[in-house]
Amino acid sequence: MTMKNFRYILAALLTWTMAACHSLLETEPTDFYSQDTYWQTSEQALDALTGCYQALTHNDLYNAQTPFMFEAMSPNAFNYDNQRAANDFARGVHSATTLGMNDAMWNGCYRGIGRCNAVIERVPAISMDETLKARIVAEAKFLRAFYYHRLNTLFHGVPLLLAEPNPDEQGSQPRNTYDEVLAQVVRDLDEAAAVLPVAYAGADDGRATKGAALALKARALLQDLDYAGTVAAAEAVFGLDHYELFPDYNGIFRKANQGNKEVIFDIRFKAPEVTNQYDIIMAQYSTQAPVQGLVDAYQMIDGRSIEESDLYDPQNPYENRDPRFKQSIVYIGAPWRNRTATAADLHQTGYTFWKFTEYNATTPGTLVNSDCNYLEIRYADVLLMYAEALNELSGPTDAVYEAVNAIRTRPSVDMPELPAGLSKEAMREAIRLERRIELAGEGSYFYDIRRWGTIEEEMNGPIHDYQGNVIQNRSFNAERDYLWPIPFTEIDLNPALEQNPNY
């Protein structure tokens, strides 16, 4: 190599490296989009909407053990391992610095709200099929209302954010009032109901429907004790003439019957992409173990309580009970997983729930990752909300009887109809018991007793296992515990947030 050649090569190398290579620094992401270039197509709009649904499946809301903690914070069930501090909430020993269910709900719901806000703000500008566009926005509004309703019920009056997430503008926003949030929930649901279809063709099955928006509106208004509004919303659901009770009570929860006509809104899972731990939670963990108080609440098949009925045999306490008992609760001696359930299996209280699981009397195994759906709103719930509101408005009318009896006489339940001539108060008690039994294990009773105010007694005192042993004592501070504490970490990050009273 001569010196001259070498110099040429050197010069060429240097020129090449210095000039051509600065473009190397211009890397582009290859597995995600940038906000600046997103929001162009209907596919992107649909994907973003899917993200709004996906927020439901986060551990904060409907995955892990979270959804079952609501039952364990009610008189129906017991949680032993204090996941998400649910046991502390149940015992009333939580404090301003407790982080658990309150934190999960706060973040879980705002996660969904943020995504919905982005869709509601961005999608209208996309040029695409207008009908689809309107539906996408309406679905997002339903979901936004769903999340805000949850927050407003648990905390009352949370910051009402309606624009795409932006920390500079939203990070210091204080709480709005309960009424402002409720008004927005109702507005979103009305707007959603006006657009959403009654049902979807197969591929879209599982999306928010008109019925879901109306049923959620009924729930939100009933929570506000707006009985007239509840009745109107429930009647609007009936008016769709779409829903009916599924004949097989336990079968409502089975994956095989997904999308049956009783389901109004469910949270969906599908293995292997989106799975939950419901099956193993029910089969092994006993995260929400039914307590004796719930078991004792089941009537005998004659429609009387165990105290009143001659059919009750303390030696065979599980016989001749409301058929929903054996379809809802696994007890020692029950046929279970291809054998007989033992005390060791049901190690917390002697019971476990028979809902939201894959297992049945003949499957031996347990699924660590199951994909049962969570039924959030079903037709029976709407019937009972309607009955409750109507009874409060106008007493035990025929319509009230009809609604409750429809549930009691479902083919697989076959309980006697309610006795005629009940007083308003007696009907109120009957409806409350019916809710407790029909929706046992579904997380509803936690909200119900708060609405009724009966939580002050029901969550004060001991709970028992199947042998009558006291598992724990619970307490409820009426001055404080109707509302959960805003997570203190949130107040640290946004000092404008005011804590709920007495924390």
Binding site: L25, N82, Y110, N166, G171, K270
Partner: protein
Amino acid sequence: MKKPGHDSLAGKSLTPIVKLLLMIKFITVLVCFLGFQGFAVEGAAQEKVTFQFSNTTLKKVFKAIEEQTSLRFVYNDDMLQRRERISIAAKEENWKAVMNRLATSTGLRYRLIDENLVAIGAADINTTYQTSIRGKVSTADGQTLQGVSVTEKGTGNGTTTNERGEFSITVKDGTALLVFSSIGYLTKELPANTAFLEVVLQEDLANLDEVVVVGYGTQKKVNVTGSISVVDGETLQNRPITNASQALQGVQGVYVNQAGGQPGADGATIRIRGMGTIGGTGKLSPLVLVDGVEFSLRDVNPNDIESISVLKDAASTAIYGSRAANGVILVTTKLGRQDRTTIDYSGYAGSQSATYLPDPVDNSATFMEWYNKAMVNQGGTPYYSEELINEFRNNPTSLIYPNTNWMEVMFGPAAIQEHNLRFAGGSAKTRYNLSAGYLDQDGVLKGMTGAEKYSLNLRVSTEVSKRFNIEGSVIGTRWDVDHPAQGIGTAMNRIMRMVPVQPVGKMENGNWPDSWVLTPGQNGFQNPLIWAEEAYRTERTNRFMANLAANFTIIEGLRYQARGSINYGDFLQKNWYPEVMAYNVRTGEPSRPWSATSTKTQRQEHDQRLNFTHTLNYQQTIGSDHTINALVGHSIERYDTEFFQGSIQGFPSTDLDELNVGTDNRQVSGTTTVDALISYFGRVQYAFRDKYLFEANSRYDGSSRFANGNKWGFFPSFSLGWRLSEEAFLSNVSWIDELKLRGSWGQIGNQEIGRFQYVNAVALGFGYPFGGTYYGGSAVTQYRDPSLQWETTTMTNFGLDWVLLNSKLTGEFEYFYKRTDGILREVQLPGQVGALAGPVRNIAVVDNKGFEIGLNYTDRIGSDFSYQLGANFTRITNEVVDLNGETILSGGRITQEGSPIDSWYVLKTDGLFQTEEEVANYPTITDRVGPGDIKYVDLNNDGVIDGDDRYVAGNTFPEFTYGFNVGFSYKAFSLSTLWQGVGNVHVRPNNNLASPFNNGAGLTKDWITDSWTPENPNARLPRISARNQYTAENFSDSDFWLEDASYLRLKNIQLAYDFKGGFLERWGLSQLRVFANAQNILTFTNVTLFDPERDITATNIDQYPSVKTITGGINLTF
């Protein structure tokens, strides 16, 4: 008078001739090399000649030697012609021996003036040679030394030692003084008063010519103005170091924490001068370069390491700019010596065992009894019946009545062996090293951990011509590592969760037994033996690095280097998690599945780092006073990674486990990433009379990790040095050999912030099923700030170096102040903002201040005993200066202004409640608290015990690190010890087994003896309760549970014996050494539950234990 010293061999009389002839010869040689010379494997030093001449001229003899060797002679023809004719014969004789004979008989002298250029000159005609002396030169540890210059003092007479370290020289008479000198050794003078001289040369620890590897080059140690710690590869010799990161333990200014000894996964965490920033391991780790190329310490064979330079201050690291904020580690691999070819074998074998394991209650009846006590203490009812407990108590241990100690079942001694073979050598033009290594390490977690490593290293440097040198290296490493399926964390978690009532072994029908006694919380069937017997995770890594550099001297003093490298790795992980059912050990009925569905997952990763660097180096001495050394460079680096992962279920049986066999739930994922870095860098060094030193380093880096407009960062540094010992006022102080004061200032950066932190991303993977089909979905999950910029570390360093008492005492003192500002950290956002992860922003400022001191003393007593003492100590105080008023809380730790990063932030405690009365008169954390529970202090006096009563109670980063080594050698024995320790650091073990009955897990034996009961009111531990059910009362993060994790550890002790004697030679050996070695054999610490060298911030003990290793082995050199 003649000039003294061996370097004047060329002599006055030769000088004019040599100068002339050199020019001619040089051109000839150059042409030869350019023409046909490739790699000269056999060095000139070893070349042998065979001839027989009688009555011939010297010229003919030289010609014959030239023909048979790569040597070339230069001489003055006139001078040779005047000599008489000679007779000489040689048969396969080393040319030097021949030349020595010629020199003796003719009075001519010769000298190797270039690597294969021999100059011939006339001896002083007045000198008469009468006394012939023979001898042998070796090192203190018995290695013979080749190429040592042996000269008669005051004359030009001299020779060098041969490959066996032997020499023979004829001197004037017995009063002559012989001077022995060799680079790297202290020069020695001995009288030539015996016929045979045994000479031992001492290593010169403060050799003025000693060089230190620095960024993009080397530097004479005396001229270094930055702060650099050097690890000599020799100190690593024979130690069972399985990951080169462990080699840095005990190094001054460096905190090295090896959490666990899992084979193939036992790399240590390295922090140079503290935690400079906030936010994750990647952001805190130093930059590691092997032979100038970014590479991992895991993949370089410790046995191939020649030296490690740890660059600590900004002056040393600024030349690496944006990757240098956490210091830089430069590893240099071995290269053969020019003058000899060696074949080395070193190997050892031994056994490892866990240093610490928890001591669980292994008696089922005791376990159940204490579980009941816990339940009662918590206000509940006993869970296990008295009948059941008695049944266990009254029956001998069996499958049905097990009393299993799971630590004993799962852990045991494990074998380790390592073998290394090295061929090294060189000729005048070429040096090479070829080595192969093999490591086979079983895991102390039996049946599911272990590793094998194969490594190859080839390094060659050759001079193509006087001005053109090429060098290259190839490193290939293969790891085969076994892990438990689902990873070590899950497996260790399960092991720590095991309880004595769970049977071990299999049932008669081969089924896995499940306990018939259920422990609440023990939900799944979790027998960890299944990991060993039925499931697996294998990880295979192939890594390959090729590194080629060409050096060209453009004009005298100006050198250009182009270096290109590729560092490529591929990784394959296979994970098999089979369906396994457990059966009730008593009834034989199916009980619970260990895994309900068989799942096979396979993951492939590739990464590729390409680097192309040019440097231009100019070195010039102007007059005798000014030395200038300047470097400019440009580098381009591109780093690509990709992975692909697939998993499948639905296997018809567990016999076949390939992906092809499964049918259900196929899942795939994968992505690619690209990083690029473009840099311009430079260095200027100036020395005035080698006394006043100045140096500036800087780098201008462009990184793909930042948005346009913020991509480029400039990182300068300056340093000054003053060698006081060169000053006139110190030159007469005999006990001071070297004294240097130095100071530096500089700025360096950190680009490890993750990719695309400046892009507001709409991420994918947020799907949901509609109509039974899964649909992909998108979501914004993090708010990002496009304006983020480089974080900058500014560092000031002062140092004092000394070499005293005839090089016996060396040492240095350093003070440093390091401030990192604009720290890139993820800001937390209020959840109401869409529950988004916060943006990475330049928001925090962190200070690290400290000092280091190091001392070394080497001496000998008599001729047989020598010793060496070394000690170093580092103190670092870390403080968060600015965090924008935020506090970051995580797992009982806090990062807040005014405290060290990640300090323990816990409740203060004041012992245990003793009486109900005491409980009643004191604020308690809940209403369940009773006597025997922990008494928390109401620090803010608000009558309530809550999070507001927490305080900063301890460090997660040690304030002190220190190390010392003591070595002796007596005759053929040598003993070396390395001690290492840390101080003022705390751990908070919690969770399974660290605390009792966590969610059904077991408890350690100390709870039986040391927990509070009314009868044992002075107990160390509170009354028994279940960790997850009585959390607030007894297991809140409090100083009660904080343990001082300071320790002092005998990291390594090695006893070696070097064989000497004639048999070595008969076997062709130049060295035979046997040794015994013990690693981690002795530890002084207060931590009892687990090894103090652990993942400091982890609040569990679900970690692989540390191991102590005892080995024995040999070194052989041919």
